[in-house]
Symmetry: C2
Subunit: 193 residues, 2 copies
DNA sequence: TGAAAAAAATAAGGTAGTTTAAGAAATTCA
DNA sequence: TGAATTTCTTAAACTACCTTATTTTTTTCA
C-alpha cells in the first residue's frame, strides 16, 4: 500500500492505533511532482511539510544575483520544508523543486496543529524529527567552519551516496558553497595522484 | 526566586501545575560556573542540557590543529548543550566554556527522559525548542553559503547585541568562520568610508 | 598597582576558491 | 533523431580571506 512507507517512518518513533492511523492518513495530501516542477516558489506562503515517498527534492536559496545555495536534498523516506516559513506561515525564502519525478505526502500547518492536539504523540514524533534536523544542521555548520571544500566534498559523497546518484555536480557544488568550476578541479585531484 | 526565569522560559510554551512545577524543578541541578571554567570538555560524555540563568557561555569545536570554531553563544534565558553528544550520550565533540561568571541549571539526559514520560507536555516544549534551534541553524547555513564575511558580521552585530557586549573579537571571528586578523580589517572598513 | 598575558590592529605576502571564457560531453525534448 | 540546452571541464586572471610577523592596546591577577 502506498501509505506503508510514511507509516513505517512514523512508527520509528511513536506507535499509533488504528483510529489514530486513519486520522493521520486523512490529514495528508498525496501529490505527484514531475521533474523540475516546484512545490514552493517565489513569494508563495509555505503551507506544507512534505514527506518524500519516492523521488528526490531539493530546497535552495536564490539570492538577488541569481546564485543558488542548496540547503538540503530529500530522498525517499525524508521530510522537507522551508521550516522557518512553514512555522511562521509567511512567504517562502526557499525554492523547493523536484530533481526527478517524485511522489510526496503533504501535511499542512493547520492539519499539523490539529494533529498535535488530537494525538499528542505527534509532539514526540516531531520533537525527534526536529532534534535530528538540528543535529544535522549543527554538524554541517561545524564542517562549514572547520573544513576545506575538498574535505566537505568527500564527506558529502560518503554521507549521501543516494543523493549523489540523482543530482548534478552543479547542485552538489551549491550545497558545498563553492562554484561548479572549483568542484570540477577538486574532482580532478582524485585521479591525478 | 532563582527559579523564576527558567519557569517563565518553560511557561512560554507549556503550562505546568504546582506538582509538575515541583517535579521539574527537582530534576534540575543548579551550578555556578566561573569565567573560563569548562562545563564540557575533551572526551567527557555530554550529560546535560543547560539553561543559562545568568552570564554567558560559548560552545566551540576544536580541531586537531588547535583552531576553534564557535558553534553558539548562550546568554541569559538560552539553552545550550552539545546536542549530538547529549542525545547519543557519547564523548563530546564540543567544548563548552563560561565566557563570564554564570549561573546555569543542568538537566541530565536521564532526568529529561523521565520528564518526557511523567509530563508529556515536555515533548511539546522541547519540540518547540528544537524546532527553533533548527530554524536558527538553517538560517545560519543559508548565510554561510550566500553571504560574504563582512555581511555576516553586520548581521551578527544586529542579531546578537547582548552577545557582542560580552565576547571578544577573536570569538566572534571564530563564529563567523574567519580569522581575527581579517575581522579586524573588516571593522576598519566601517570608519574609513 | 604593575608585570605578564591576551587581544586587537596593521601590514606584507600567500593560497583557496571565484570569475570569465571557451570547448567538449551529456541530456533534453520537439 | 538531432538540434538546442544544460552540464562539465580546463585554464588564466583575479579576489576574499589566510598566514606570519610586529606593534599597540586591553585585560588579568599576584
Amino acid at each position: 500500500m502506498i501509505n506503508d512507507l510514511i507509516l513505517k517512518n512514523i512508527a520509528r518513533h511513536i506507535s499509533l492505533d488504528k483510529e489514530e492511523t486513519a486520522c493521520f492518513i486523512s490529514s495528508l495530501k498525496q501529490r505527484k511532482v514531475s521533474k523540475k516542477e516546484f512545490i514552493l516558489q517565489g513569494e508563495e506562503v509555505c503551507k506544507y511539510i512534505n514527506f518524500v515517498h519516492s523521488g528526490t527534492l531539493r530546497a535552495y536559496y536564490l539570492d538577488k544575483a541569481g546564485k543558488e545555495s542548496t540547503i538540503m536534498f530529500a530522498v525517499s523516506d525524508w521530510w522537507i520544508t522551508d521550516i522557518f516559513c512553514f512555522i511562521n506561515q509567511q512567504p517562502a525564502m526557499l525554492t523547493i523543486e523536484a530533481v526527478e519525478e517524485s511522489i510526496i505526502f503533504q501535511l499542512s500547518k493547520d492539519e499539523l496543529d490539529r494533529l498535535y492536539i488530537k494525538i499528542p504523540k505527534f509532539e514526540r514524533f516531531f520533537r525527534v524529527i526536529f532534534q535530528n534536523a538540528y543535529i544535522r544542521e549543527q554538524l554541517r555548520t561545524i564542517q562549514n567552519l572547520s573544513l576545506s571544500a575538498e574535505e566537505r566534498y568527500h564527506i558529502f559523497l560518503n554521507k549521501y551516496p543516494q543523493v549523489v546518484k540523482q543530482v548534478t555536480q552543479k547542485q552538489i557544488a551549491s550545497y558545498l558553497g563553492i562554484t561548479p568550476e572549483f568542484l570540477s578541479t577538486i574532482r580532478g585531484h582524485k585521479h591525478k595522484k
